[in-house]
């Protein structure tokens, strides 16, 4: 069973601060997806990183996939109250077998950005 360790579990910061969320595994993944979930809603995909070492930017959010495709990070610059939510990383298994698109989720990071 592939596991993804996500840290920290909680982050409470002031508006304007920077933060980083980490997602680590001993397993290699085909790709890594990041989702964001707001209260009362389901998770929504933010980004998929596919290539080892890949960096993707989404406005103030920077996502990185580790060279060995075992870990990933999400960095938010100058956090805003609108960034508040639950952030989830999810590993996509390597191709082949009968994965049927199953994802391995991290435990999630609850981010609160105070005005």
């Amino acid at each position: 069973t592939q596991l993804l360790e996500q840290s920290p579990q909680f982050l409470s910061i002031q508006e304007g601060e920077n933060l980083t969320v980490y997602c680590n595994s001993s397993s290699v993944f085909s790709s890594l997806q990041w989702y964001r979930q707001e209260p009362g809603e389901g998770p929504v995909l933010l980004v998929t990183v596919v290539t080892g070492g890949e960096v993707k930017k989404l406005k103030r959010l920077t996502f990185q996939f580790g060279d060995a495709r075992k870990d990933s990070s999400l960095h938010i610059t100058a956090a805003q109250p609108g960034d508040t939510g639950l952030y989830l990383c999810a590993g996509v298994p390597r191709a082949g077998g009968t994965s049927y698109g199953k994802l391995t989720f991290g435990q999630g990071t609850i981010l609160t950005v105070h005005p």
Binding site: Q6, V44, V50
Partner: protein, 114 residues
């Protein structure tokens, strides 16, 4: 636009009852999933279905069953509800065309078992 609809946002049931959670997607997706979400544990896969009438157990199937009679509908059944099944339940669907396709989630059903 993609739409996954879960029939109830909130549900309160009693211990021992048989509980049905319904999920419908309008995207003609082959793959559908049921998760439960608990604080600090992330999303844990209960069951998934890769086609009509096809299903496989996920990581925590005990106490649950599923039904997929039509492509668009995936039902989760709690055979005899217990208090430890109080949780948020999320349904998702996905097209299997290419490996990196995202899962599309419903807004969840918050189930309380008294």
């Amino acid at each position: 636009d993609v739409k996954v609809t879960q029939s109830s946002r909130y549900l309160v049931k009693r211990t021992g009852e048989k509980v049905f959670l319904e999920c419908v997607q309008d995207m003609d997706h082959e793959n559908m999933f049921w998760y439960r979400q608990d604080p600090g544990l992330g999303l844990r896969l209960i069951y998934f279905s890769y086609d009509v009438k096809m299903k496989e157990k996920g990581d925590i199937p005990e106490g649950y069953s599923v039904s997929r009679e039509k492509k668009e509908r995936f039902s989760l059944i709690l055979e005899s509800a217990s208090t430890n099944q109080t949780s948020m339940y999320l349904c998702a669907s996905r097209t299997p065309s290419v490996g990196n396709q995202p899962q599309h989630f419903g807004d969840g059903t918050r189930l309380s078992i008294l």
